[in-house]
């Protein structure tokens, strides 16, 4: 599925919730279902700075697509990561680099989640795009 379409899908999903508490419940659910990453990948160089909770991110490339794996010690953060990964994992490097992630604003994440505060969310996106740029040049 294309990045744009996945974003549409997420926006639709969030459309059914009336309140932010409900959205939180959903994000937490998503967080609980994120597969744990390998303890070996929880190394310092995979840590994303600027988040209040710890976030580890690493990536692989196969068949021309980039796969991202991420984890966090906080559930809400994990839920957000899972949204990001659902949109950006298993995509072509060039598509990732060019992706315009408007679903974040459309579902109200930016206003409602304090990840933004410490540039956590932006740093995650930046790191994801960095990986994509790296793979694109290889």
């Amino acid at each position: 599925m294309k990045i744009k379409d996945i974003q549409e899908e997420i926006i639709d999903e969030f459309g059914i919730f009336d309140s932010w508490m409900d959205k939180y419940e959903y994000i937490i659910e998503l967080g609980k279902n994120v597969p744990k990453i390998n303890e070996d990948d929880k190394v310092d160089e995979n840590i994303i700075k600027g988040c209040q909770s710890k976030v580890w991110l690493h990536a692989k490339k196969s068949n021309g697509l980039v796969q991202f794996y991420a984890d966090s010690d906080a559930l809400i953060t994990k839920g957000i990561i899972s949204l990001l990964l659902r949109v950006l994992s298993n995509q072509k490097p060039s598509d990732i680099i060019q992706a315009n992630l408007d679903f974040i604003d459309k579902i109200g994440l930016r206003q409602h989640l304090s990840v933004n505060r410490a540039n956590g969310l932006n740093n995650m996106i930046k790191k994801i795009k960095f990986y994509a740029i790296g793979y694109n040049n290889k």
Partner: protein, 407 residues
């Protein structure tokens, strides 16, 4: 003033308390980070700019004189409140952090390799980093007073580390992360017997009880206006006159000089020597109004009421399963740091924020304490005299709801 009886009228003094957040009425429990501002303080800032605004100290004209007078009256208010000996001992800075840096800089020339300085393990980063920088410059070394599980300092260990090599001891009066009130009179006294100087970081003390620098015999006592209902951008440094006289100036600029030629500059007398440039005039004056305001309510009343809030909240929070409080000293201010099971503090903070409840999560600029407990951070609730019991109930309900969602 009986705060309990007058709590509604006190709350009315703080306009922000009636705003709503995410559709819920704000419950502000992040007072250790910054306190809220009563109308009289807000109005004093507007009044300043509407009637008085002018650069101080050097103008002959009416506004400048009037502004200078009120600025200096404010200095007198703080002198009196702290029971300092002279207004020369009161320096206005831009915050506690600035005050500490000013003091650390004062030891640049006198400290040397082989000297020791002593810090407590309960300190805010602002009372650690400037001293680390000083050690780097001078070659002095830093020793750390250890703490125990209750969040109290180990005074035996402190006594053992004191020696003739000890030059400076710096400890907070109250820990911002745990609320522990440290026995600073004892700490100062012991340090003085080795002729060491003592800086007390009073950022978390001044808002909650009366402090008498003369009685304590502190060499330096520092705090910020924004923590006791004053504006941002103002700090107060109390220091003994004789020490300030020996200190080199910290920053150079206008007002702090007597005469300037390109060959040689002579410095002005205290306190101007340490206040170069245009100060935060509106802010300083408003800080004086904030001081009047808390004195109007009465610090003894504040302490009594906040103690009640603390014990009610502690008891209520203990009803939550797996809730663990960090900082359980008998002598503490109205701060409660805790975690619930192994739920991340940040998850809980985010959810209760959505319910309008403002608390702080994280390391509270006191990483060494977190390292001691081996946790990434805590949830910290901190009360001010305008909080009420109802808000504590709301907090506990919100926490219960968050725990349910996150388990």
């Amino acid at each position: 003033m009986d705060i309990k009886k007058n709590i509604d009228s006190i709350r009315n003094d703080f306009p922000i308390l009636s705003t709503s957040v995410n559709g819920n009425k704000l419950v502000y429990l992040d007072n250790a980070a910054t306190s809220q501002t009563p109308n009289c303080v807000i109005d004093s800032i507007s009044d300043y700019y509407k009637n008085l605004n002018s650069n101080i100290h050097r103008g002959v004209h009416f506004l400048s004189q009037k502004a200078t007078e009120i600025y200096e009256e404010t200095r007198f208010k703080f002198k009196k409140h702290l029971n300092a000996n002279s207004t020369k001992e009161i320096i206005f800075t831009s915050g506690t952090t600035h005050s500490i840096n000013l003091v650390a800089n004062g030891f640049n020339n006198s400290l040397k390799a082989g000297d020791e300085i002593i810090v407590s393990s309960l300190e805010h980063h602002s009372n650690i980093v400037p001293w680390q920088m000083l050690c780097e410059k001078t070659g002095a070394t830093m020793k750390v007073i250890p703490m125990n599980q209750e969040g109290e300092l180990n005074l035996n260990a402190y006594e053992d580390m004191l020696s003739k090599k000890t030059k400076i001891v710096f400890v907070n009066h109250v820990s911002n992360a745990l609320g522990t009130v440290n026995p600073i009179k004892f700490i100062i006294d012991r340090a003085h017997s080795f002729s060491a100087k003592v800086l007390i970081d009073g950022a978390q003390a001044i808002p909650h009880f009366k402090v008498d620098v003369n009685d304590l015999n502190a060499d330096f006592y520092v705090f910020s206006a924004h923590k006791f209902c004053g504006p941002t951008g103002v700090g107060i440094l109390y220091a003994k006159q004789s020490i300030l006289e020996d200190f080199p100036p910290y920053q150079g600029g206008g007002e702090m000089i007597d005469e300037v030629t390109f060959e040689k500059t002579t410095y002005a007398d205290l306190p101007n020597k340490f206040e170069p440039g245009t100060p935060n005039i509106a802010g300083v004056i408003a800080s004086g109004i904030a001081l009047d305001y808390i004195n109007g309510i009465g610090l003894d009343n504040i302490k009594k009421y906040e103690d009640e809030l603390l014990s009610y909240a502690t008891q209520k929070l203990k009803t939550i399963n797996n809730l663990k409080i960090y900082g359980t000293s008998q002598n503490k201010t109205s701060v409660i740091s805790f975690n619930i099971g192994d739920i991340h503090a940040y998850d809980i903070g985010s959810i209760i924020d959505n319910l309008g409840i403002a608390v702080r999560t994280g390391h509270h600029c006191a990483q060494p304490i977190m390292d001691y407990y081996n946790i990434p951070g805590t949830i910290r609730v901190s009360f001010c005299f305008y909080n009420n019991f109802d808000e504590i109930d709301k907090l506990v309900n919100a926490l219960n709801r968050a725990v349910k969602m996150l388990s």
